[in-house]
Subunit: 414 residues, 2 copies
């Protein structure tokens, strides 16, 4: 199979099972790095590594696919090194499927934003202040260089709150950007001999008519999968699930549905109920490093004094390396002393738990007992609050500033 | 086997092979947590964990015995937690042999020293300033609570430089302290059903007559093994090996010989040549976290730009997980981004390398070809400098201050 003549094909996708009482479903899609069975959770590997873990441990946790951050990898180590290293898979020794985001989200949330025009966005690196430009075409080029199995179209992820007028204008531009993404993607050849696929991203803020419009426009572009962006950005959680219930039924049934940046175990389960196939979030890894462990009975915050002499494992029913070998008292000791081994044992447990939850959900759907399983889950798992912990840090303020600037530039001459 | 009637036995020890051209030897000793074949290197697990690694990884690296720091563990998490957790072995899930130091070295080097008398030392914790007392008896009690397989007698580790008068006075007190250690140890019962053994520590600074005297006194106390302390503390390296060549032949042949705090690979090999059986050092773990890797061809400092696009593993001949899966370029990327996974992959490699070196030395001695093997090693491994990197940080200054204070108190009334 010659690299130079390989072109983008259609992603092989099949629905394997459907729940009778909800939109929940089990699907399968294929990449050259392996098959993914959904619903699935994707741990985040920002710098080409899932923080504190190794590929071997991800394997042990039944991780099927991870997410890499285009913005971070573009800045460090940069494309030259990744290309010469044989692409991100080989460079990072991850041989299973990988998805990359478009980089746009980090440009808006992390970088120092410069000018945003119809053509492109200029920004300064959050690391060294160096100036860069991102556009649909550049994002496609970068993701092509990274060599992810699934690339994401370039969009603007609108913040919350976002007025209708801006959301509508932004959506139109996002659609033009996604079209340009698709057109440029179609011209690119795979870099490393394996196929790449492209997902579109539905936007439209909290406005269901805009969301419906977005699904319609993007469906016509025939992406390999459809993501829902612009949720889990600070809106009330009930609002998200309400919107999801209007968007999700509109998505093409023969393509994967991906809810970006979600979430807590309870959110994932409710997302599955709404027909979502793919999830990603930094929650299990980031919170592990903050000393928080997820279990079937809820969260454990290791710094709490109640665990000082608690010599039971974090979760008696868990079969991960951490729970098989260590007590809460020991993990607390490691955490209180800043021992990295503790942070990795916490991360290992949380990733194992998230993948276990989603695997059990999958089994329940296949067995026709998803609703019953979901009820059981919520019987033991306390839902503690209704806040998004992620995606909102520093972001809202910057975005407001950006929106104001943008409003001014629109009033000025757009 | 009843815990309450178990008393301290003699450690089973055997010399398995001797080199014809040097003092190098292969020995074996037995503990209730398993047999140790020497020469051996002991990774340091300060807080009941070898930094960044898990017990499973230490197993994979053929680690036979680790060292725990009495001072640190006494302060955090404290004896109550460790005792209730079933001792340090069970608490930390390490099922192989473990040695603990006496705590004295850290009291002198890390804590805020209070008053040192013939009876005991008072000090304030480097963490919270709380006041504590350490004495030979207290050190024995603590190590008994920790439940290490090998305990160390309580001594004063004299600094370098150290005048003869102080060294001689200190040595006499150290001998009295070691006698008290032995007497108190003999009264203690094992805490957790497994036997504990006690090693004595030869002191005497750089003065060979004091060292000879120390060996004589301690040999009469019949410890289970003999450590050489007070070396690798800043003296010229040639001086250390010169002293070693006078001390080592005096040590009882039917007991393990342990050179404390050593060292670099080249030092370990030269120590083996001088009849040393056991070594410990934070070098492979600490330097791993500073981005330095040890290989058969010398050290790799990952921050150097030459590794930016070096896609070969750290050591082509190494079979560790790191070398089997990752390139120098990737490890450099992880290091430059402060990714913990990088620090653990570096540590894994370094511990694997140190254990591999010492295992090859063992094989060479058994096969009767140690001198030839040693020559081969130094043909490829560049010895870069003649400095101690470890044990001297912050230490000398504090010790000088302490010596001055002590001198004054002696002049005053001792």
């Amino acid at each position: 199979m010659q690299n130079s003549i390989k072109t983008h094909g259609r992603m092989k996708f099949a629905v394997l099972a459907k729940d009778s009482g909800s939109l929940a479903r089990v699907c399968r899609f294929e990449t050259d790095h392996g098959t993914v069975e959904t619903p699935i959770f994707m741990p985040v590997g920002t710098h080409g590594v899932v923080k504190t873990l190794t590929p071997a441990e991800l394997d042990d946790c039944q991780v099927q696919i991870i997410l890499g951050n285009t913005y971070h990898l573009y800045l460090r180590p940069g494309l030259e090194i990744i290309e010469k290293g044989g692409g991100l898979h080989r460079f990072s020794s991850w041989n299973k499927p990988m998805l990359t985001d478009s980089g746009g989200f980090q440009v808006f949330s992390l970088a120092h934003l410069g000018k945003m025009t119809e053509d492109d966005i200029t920004f300064r690196s959050h690391i060294d202040g160096s100036q860069h430009t991102l556009s649909p075409e550049i994002s496609m080029e970068i993701q092509n260089s990274l060599g992810s199995d699934i690339m994401m179209a370039f969009d603007e992820c609108t913040p919350y709150p976002c007025d209708y007028e801006y959301a509508a204008k932004s959506l139109e531009r996002t659609h033009r950007w996604e079209l340009r993404s698709k057109e440029h993607f179609d011209k690119l050849k795979p870099h490393y001999g394996h196929q790449q696929f492209l997902f579109g991203i539905v936007q439209g803020s909290i406005y269901s008519d805009l969301r419906a419009k977005s699904v319609e426009v993007l469906t016509n572009l025939e992406f390999d999968g459809y993501a829902i962006g612009g949720l889990a950005v600070g809106e009330p959680k009930a609002k998200m699930f309400e919107l999801l219930s209007t968007i999700s039924p509109l998505l093409p049934e023969n393509k994967p549905h991906y809810l970006m940046g979600v979430g807590k175990p309870e959110d994932i389960i409710q997302g599955i109920e709404q027909g979502i196939d793919m999830f990603d979030c930094v929650l299990p890894t980031r919170n592990a490093r903050n000393g928080t462990l997820y279990t079937w009975n809820g969260r454990i915050v290791l710094k709490q004094a109640q665990y000082r002499m608690d010599f039971a494992p974090p979760d008696e029913s868990c079969n991960c390396y951490t729970c098989r070998n260590f007590s809460k008292a020991y993990l607390r000791h490691l955490y209180m002393n800043g021992e990295m081994t503790g942070l990795r044992l916490n991360t290992l447990h949380n990733i194992h738990f998230f993948l276990e939850v989603i695997s059990k959900a999958r089994e329940a759907i296949k067995a026709g007992g998803f609703s019953q399983w979901e009820k059981e889950f919520f019987k033991y798992y306390p839902v503690e609050d209704d806040h998004w912990e992620i995606n909102t840090v520093h972001r809202e303020e910057r975005r407001r500033k950006h929106l104001n600037e943008n409003d001014q530039s629109r009033q000025g001459g757009n």
